[in-house]
């Protein structure tokens, strides 16, 4: 019998994840200006310095920023234990990380060694603090094993990608290490660890919990919950030794995940119109499209000696763009639409345990983030994604993509600010009511 004892499972104060969330669109807005002012040359290759700034703005500035904030809340909800000293850890890591990513993007654009070193120092400290706190939780024996195993693997991949990233930055400032002899393969491992190992596995692990929880869907099959994340992680490690053989398996494992997503979504009990579900469906469709594109013969791509009348853009650029924009970004935006109003509501709701009459001050959950406004974001996301594909085919369209990107993420920022303002105004009302 487990009569309640001491617990460390309270949600961290809401302003902590909020500051990660609200910082994220700022980086993509910066990316929109970067795309606009870089012109056509940005799209020549993935090795363009400004392209490196752009990809890190998306992956570190937006995706990782949101995932770091979300993990702060997910650990106590899913595992039952949150990080220790959340205010100190979140404030220090967020501040260092925010400035570190900005310095990193600038260091790619203006190529100054002092900026690169600044970015290395800030990111090292910021991420060490954050990862240390998360590992402190994850090494404990906590509930909901399948997701937690996924979190652990994602964090290991995160550490690997950071170490490789720091080695690559060290190389830029003239500190050459023997491992750099592997050349571009190191960059490929770094990218795969980030996109598939860190972001991909974390999304897989989170999906095991959030789909049944928010959408009352059936649990994912036990085999998938137990083996999918470890399989993807193992394949990511194998990529270090044999890239060509492993990549097809990574794509296939994601096609399996996409199929399971469709199955679970189809069999959910609450079949109400929901923007997050639309995002999950878009993400799953993108994974299947990625498989088709990956297994398409090379003669369909422009970087080969093909004589076909219409050719697809550079294969690695196209696949990476779809994976980041239509898969990772879609899931993250869909999650934001779900957790921003939920967290706001649930934090206020928990205050009513002592005084139930305070419930009268809490508006309906949809007032925190209007469904129609969420749907507008979804359509903006599709439009800007399509303009990204267009700019890969015809780089002259870069200004259109920049504009779409700007509109989409300014809109997301507005939705976030409105949600947070409503939360804080209701919180003040409850405080006043308690004081009277």
């Amino acid at each position: 019998m487990n009569i309640s004892g001491l617990s460390f499972n309270a949600l961290p104060p809401i302003d902590l994840p909020f500051r990660f969330f609200i910082s994220a669109p700022v980086f993509i807005i910066a990316c929109a200006f970067l795309v606009f002012f870089s012109g056509e040359s940005l799209w020549l290759s993935r090795w363009q310095p400004n392209m490196l700034a752009l990809t890190h703005g998306f992956t570190l500035g937006f995706l990782t920023m949101v995932m770091m904030g979300a993990l702060l809340q997910l650990l106590p909800v899913i595992g039952g234990i949150g990080i220790a000293k959340p205010r100190l850890i979140a404030t220090a890591s967020h501040t260092l990380y925010f400035i570190g990513v900005a310095a990193l993007m600038l260091s790619f654009i203006v190529a100054k060694s002092w900026l690169t070193i600044t970015a290395m120092v800030l990111l090292s400290f910021g991420l060490s603090i954050y990862i240390g706190a998360v590992v402190w939780v994850l090494i404990r024996k906590i509930s909901q094993g399948d997701s937690i195993v996924g979190f652990r693997l994602a964090i290991i991949a995160f550490v690997c990608l950071i170490v490789l990233g720091l080695l690559l930055l060290a190389n830029r400032v003239g500190i050459s290490l023997p491992v750099m002899l592997l050349g571009k393969h190191i960059t490929d491992i770094h990218a795969l660890m980030g996109l598939v190992g860190w972001a991909g596995i974390l999304i897989i692990a989170v999906s095991f919990q959030v789909l049944p929880m928010f959408h009352v869907s059936p649990n994912m099959p036990k085999l998938i919950r137990q083996y999918l994340a470890p399989t993807v992680f193992f394949l990511t490690l194998l990529f270090i030794f044999s890239g060509e053989l492993v990549l097809p398996l990574i794509f296939i494992s994601h096609a399996v995940f996409a199929s399971i997503l469709f199955y679970v979504i189809k069999h959910r009990k609450r079949k109400v119109q929901d923007n997050s579900i639309k995002y999950w469906q878009l993400a799953a469709t993108s994974l299947l499209v990625l498989n088709v594109l990956y297994f398409l013969p090379d003669k369909f791509y422009s970087n080969t000696d093909s004589s076909l009348p219409f050719l697809l853009p550079d294969k690695s650029m196209l696949l990476t763009a779809i994976f980041i924009y239509f898969y990772l970004l879609s899931v993250i935006q869909g999650m934001l639409l779900k957790i921003l109003p939920f967290l706001s509501y649930t934090h206020l709701q928990q205050r009513c345990l002592v005084d139930f009459s305070a419930m009268q001050f809490i508006p309906h959950m949809h007032n925190f983030l209007n469904k129609k406004h969420g749907l507008i974001l979804y359509y903006l996301h599709i439009v800007s994604g399509l303009t990204l594909l267009a700019v890969l085919c015809e780089s002259k369209l870069y200004a259109v993509f920049a504009l779409c990107l700007l509109v989409e993420f300014v809109w997301l920022l507005i939705l976030m600010v409105r949600c947070m303002r409503l939360y804080f105004s209701v919180n003040v009302k409850i405080n006043l009511s308690n004081n009277n």
Binding site: M1, I3, S4, F8, A10, M213, F342, L353, F356, M365
Partner: protein, 93 residues
Amino acid sequence: MELIRVDVKQLAPPEPMTVILSALAQLTEEECLLVRHRRQPFPLYEKLQQAGFMYHCEVHSDDNISLYIYRQDDQKLFEHVFNNNIIQSKARN
């Protein structure tokens, strides 16, 4: 001790919490709330203690738990009736 039952298994957040809070607002002395849920509401636990409640959770499977919530003053009574399986059931809507 009387048992008040609520089943929130088919509800999506934040409805389970709304149902639990409403039931707790009406919970009188010598009553115990039994919540049937798909998952443990971990963040609620610490708040329950701060608000003067105790809880006991039984995990039946991956998506099936029973959570008993009662007032701290009733702890001995709860342990007595729970261990001797003499809780009376009462439905409340």
